[in-house]
């Protein structure tokens, strides 16, 4: 009973709390869409420490098991913790050795439960997750937020992508995009995010998952255009203003 008496002191004292109160090292948006053969997902490689762009080679997309791909925005350490949980999940599944393996729907459900339970204990994993995969020809793309909100859709975006990428995807996504069209659409979204999101870096990876497996591209950067005449001479006709 002594341990119960010592615990309230720890919980009441905010400095002694062991719960996540705010994120420290964060990743920005992840954008994903379904295309003809599977799922395409894009994320940049930046890890910001507050307003500093501290880490520029953070891989925010990882394969999970044989059929799924997980992308995360938000706290990087919580993403790494989730990868450990998923490792254990996949390991136990493999140990059954029954010829069956966890598909994207199952992994998505598991992640929802984990996120929601952590939120109920007021100790959330500060991430917005994007889970995509293909199993037996069925494509699946879902999202889980840090409070446990989950849904499945043809295209998803986290963070700033909600405001900037979603209008573009809603306008231009259609069934049976080819791989090239899908990549072009994702790059369009990532370019707008690069222009307008302060925590974006011009170093991104695009990954695809199909029935055959996961491919994560090498990091590359997008071309940007700054040559508008208004940018070159903004005070034309108005000397002294800006």
């Amino acid at each position: 009973m002594e341990s119960n008496q010592s615990k309230p002191g720890l919980l009441c004292n905010p400095e002694g709390s062991q719960r996540t109160l705010y994120p420290y090292v964060t990743g920005t948006s992840v954008v994903a869409l379904k295309y003809k053969d599977g799922i395409l997902m894009a994320a940049d490689m930046g890890g910001s420490y507050g307003s500093t762009l501290r880490y520029k080679s953070v891989e925010r997309m990882k394969p999970v098991g044989k059929h799924s791909l997980l992308g995360a925005s938000g706290e990087i350490s919580d993403f790494q913790e989730l990868l450990r949980y998923l490792d254990e999940l996949i390991l136990y599944d493999n140990m059954w050795d029954d010829g069956n393996s966890l598909g994207p729907k199952e992994v998505h459900n598991y992640l929802t439960r984990v996120m929601y339970n952590r939120r109920n204990k007021f100790n959330p994993l500060w991430n917005s997750l994007v889970l995509g995969g293909v199993k037996k020809g069925q494509k699946y793309l879902g999202m889980v937020s840090m409070i446990g909100v989950n849904f499945e859709d043809n295209h998803v975006a986290t963070g700033f992508g909600n405001h900037l990428a979603r209008p573009i995807l809603r306008d231009e996504w259609h069934e049976n995009l080819t791989f090239e069209e899908g990549v072009k659409l994702l790059e369009k979204c990532m370019r707008v995010l690069l222009y307008r999101d302060r925590s974006a870096v011009n170093k991104l990876q695009i990954s695809k998952i199909t029935e055959e497996g996961v491919t994560i591209s090498q990091p590359y950067s997008l071309k940007t255009f700054w040559g508008f005449s208004a940018f070159e001479n903004p005070t034309l006709g108005a000397e002294g203003s800006w």
Partner: protein, 272 residues
């Protein structure tokens, strides 16, 4: 015989309660949050001039109070201004600067310049330190060429080839950033502005209803009110409302209202 106890206030803003508000905030009293009116306004420069666009929804918190309001305000024959933020502030500030511009036109005998409107607006807004909550997209064509500016409530300005403001600005900016190019024709420009406003209408809850467009070129302007109606009202029945069969018309009588004005013959003229 009683003395007037209350002083008549001098007019303008009164900052008397600021100290008390600060004290209350320190004690933990939550200040009431500002009502955002929700809007998508955009502007872009094309090869012959400027195109401005706006949605037409005015909101009071969660309620749409005006389904078809006008957010593109007249400043001068060659200058128009879109306004986002508190509707009263945008109306008052654009009206005021419009009158100032007209007086200036009479004084100088020349066509107003966009930078004049810009300077008058930013002076006023900075003076009120952001309390006049008006975020504006100002566009026009004058002797020096086409100009497009954004003005923020605190008084800072930007000169841009394309601009968006309001709660739907991110959705509209996503459209602009992916599709804008220099030297667009009139039709391409109108199409892009319409797409950006529609993006705000469909993806932002604070914007909605119809699309207004205003095209300003050298010596000519075109105000396309309700250029696009992307969310028309659809009735369940194609013929509209029909009375159920049980309602029979038994008897119709029409009584015209009589005029009740009494005209005095040869009465006195109105007193001055």
């Amino acid at each position: 015989m009683s003395q007037v106890a209350v002083d008549v206030p001098k007019g303008g803003f009164s900052f008397d309660l600021c100290r008390r508000n600060d004290m209350l905030a320190k004690k933990g009293v939550q200040q009431p949050s500002y009502r955002k009116t929700g809007t998508t306004i955009v502007g872009l420069i094309f090869q012959d001039g400027v195109i401005l666009g706006a949605d037409t929804r005015a909101t009071e918190g969660p309620i749409v109070c005006d389904k078809n309001c006008e957010k593109i305000h007249y400043m001068a024959p060659n200058i128009y201004c879109c306004g986002a933020g508190t509707a009263a502030d945008t109306e008052a500030v654009t009206d005021m600067v419009s009158s100032q511009l007209q007086l200036h036109r009479y004084h100088t005998g020349r066509e107003s310049r966009v930078v004049t409107a810009l300077t008058l607006l930013k002076k006023h807004l900075f003076n009120y330190q952001g309390h006049v909550s008006a975020a504006l997209v100002l566009g026009g064509v004058d002797v020096t060429g086409p100009h497009l500016h954004t003005i923020y409530p605190h008084g800072s300005t930007d000169t841009l080839p394309f601009a968006t403001m309001g709660s739907g600005s991110l959705a509209a900016m996503a459209m602009f950033e992916s599709k804008y190019k220099e030297g667009m024709t009139r039709d391409e420009g109108i199409k892009l502005v319409t797409e950006a406003i529609c993006s705000g209408i469909f993806n932002d809850l604070g914007s909605g209803s119809n699309v207004d467009v205003c095209v300003i070129t050298k010596g000519h302007k075109e105000y396309l009110r309700n250029h696009l109606v992307p969310t028309p009202r659809t009735y369940v029945s194609a013929e509209g409302y029909k009375f159920t069969k049980k309602t029979e018309v038994l008897f119709t009588k029409i009584t015209p209202l009589t005029e009740k004005v009494v005209v005095l013959e040869g009465g006195d003229a109105m007193e001055e």
